[in-house]
């Protein structure tokens, strides 16, 4: 029987209250939302928090809305709501691509975007999704808010920029003209973690790639930002050949390890193929807006 080690539990009734509790309890306290990453880790003693602060009642952190030139997602927004969101499907279709293959529908009823990003598992899909679309994370502490770009959010495996007495409250997705995006994942069976996954977003203006974001899941110790491939694509016209080159860079710049999901050369190959596919679909989704 798998049961977490003993801990103290409290329910937050406000964001400020949750932060005050984190501050009071120190590094042995953890926020729990959906619990579908944290509880399994606690059962295996990979995480042993002494206090859990349940934020499920903070429904003010559950929303997806367009505001000005951004789409805002509350940290407590569940996977099922990301999957069904028409706002995201319109502006950032890679969310629906990813949510269709994140765990299973029952798990998606509980898991949250904030939990996924804060778990910072290298194989987690939303981290690469948010990296590709150049999302920003809003982190709140007792002294106020700070906004962190995704490349500075993930510091290492299971480590994020969120401090002990801080709470991730919102994800901001900047809206720019000519955008298209896609997420491609290969998994062993329905609901499994990725063998490899690639997220891509392109912004095509006047027939050329004004900007691009590419990130990989499951093929390194953390989410991998393919900055070298992004540099290659910027300012060029989208083409199969160009995206194939980006795929080659992905194969080179990832650093997978061999495990039950496959050997290193297979994963490198897959990272390349999926990067190219994601870019092709992202561009195909961007171009109709251009015309």
């Amino acid at each position: 029987m798998q049961t977490p080690a003993a801990f103290e539990y409290e329910r937050a009734t406000s964001v400020e209250g949750a932060i005050a509790s984190l501050q009071r309890l120190g590094s042995e306290a953890r926020i729990i939302a959906g619990g579908h990453s944290l509880l399994p880790m606690m059962k295996l003693r990979l995480a042993n928090p002494e206090h859990l602060i349940d934020i499920n009642d903070l429904t003010e952190l559950s929303y997806i809305r367009e505001e000005g030139d951004e789409v805002l997602i509350g940290a407590l927004t569940r996977h099922v709501d990301l999957l069904k969101s028409e706002v995201l499907a319109l502006h950032f279709p890679l969310f629906r691509d990813a949510e269709n293959v994140i765990a299973d529908p029952v798990v998606r009823n509980r898991g949250t975007i904030g939990g996924s990003l804060c778990q910072a598992d290298a194989a987690e899909d939303l981290s690469s999704v948010c990296s590709a679309v150049k999302a920003k994370a809003v982190i709140r502490g007792a002294d106020g808010e700070r906004v962190v770009a995704m490349e500075d959010f993930h510091i290492g495996p299971y480590v994020t920029a969120v401090g002990d007495a801080e709470l991730l409250t919102e994800i901001r997705l900047p809206l720019r003209p000519g955008g298209g995006s896609a997420h491609e994942k290969v998994e062993r069976r329905a609901g499994d973690w990725a063998i490899a996954a690639a997220s891509a977003a392109v912004w095509i203006v006047g027939g050329t790639i004004a900007d691009v974001g590419i990130a990989l899941s499951a093929v390194g110790p953390t989410t991998i930002h393919l900055s070298r491939a992004e540099e290659l694509l910027r300012g060029k016209a989208p083409s199969d050949e160009l995206f194939a080159q980006a795929g080659e860079i992905a194969s080179t710049d990832c650093s997978p390890s061999a495990d039950g999901r496959g050997p290193i050369d297979y994963k490198r190959h897959l990272a390349g193929v999926l990067t190219k596919r994601a870019l092709l679909r992202a561009a195909a989704r961007a171009l109709p807006q251009e015309a």
């Binding site: 798998q2 049961t3 539990y9 619990g35 509880l39 029952v106 009823n109």
Partner: protein, 159 residues
């Protein structure tokens, strides 16, 4: 800590450790052992119950997190000896052999039909993709959900 949860419409209160999982709370306190405790890792789906109408895996939710929410278990499906159409469908199409996965399958597919009364085979398969059956294969389970969907559609017409 004292936790009070609505299980099948009845308020169940008990002093528990905060680490108690919902699946154990349900099985031990009101003794509703219809909810099965399977893989313990949110993979198999045998422990699925409904929380405010949505199917959830009760092995990966703390009982303490459920206070103030409505939990429904497989025991709530049958009313006064009358089976729920989804249970009738499983019976009619032989959608179980050992029955271990059945409670989770029933609660998952009941929620599917509540949201989508006429699902395609693909939608049914997607809905149960987080539930594992090691006996029947999934074909008869998909047939059972179709059977229940059609039964409910024709029952509605008669009214």
């Amino acid at each position: 800590m004292l936790v009070s949860i609505s299980v099948n419409g009845e308020q169940v209160s008990r002093e528990i450790e905060p680490r108690q999982l919902l699946v154990h709370f349900i099985r031990e306190t009101p003794g509703l052992t219809g909810t099965h405790w399977g893989c313990d890792t949110s993979n198999c789906g045998a422990c699925v119950v409904q929380m405010d109408g949505a199917p959830v895996k009760s092995c990966t939710i703390l009982a303490a997190m459920c206070e103030g929410h409505e939990i429904r278990t497989v025991e709530s499906l049958e009313v006064d000896g009358l089976l729920d159409p989804i249970q009738m469908g499983f019976h009619e199409t032989h959608a179980l052999q050992c029955g271990f996965c059945t409670p989770g399958m029933l609660m998952t597919t009941r929620a599917l039909l509540d949201e989508n009364p006429n699902p395609t085979d693909h939608e049914i398969r997607t809905a149960i993709s987080g539930a594992i059956c090691r006996c029947t294969g999934y074909k008869n389970i998909v047939s059972a959900v179709r059977w229940a969907a059609e039964y409910e559609a024709s029952a509605k017409q008669e009214v």
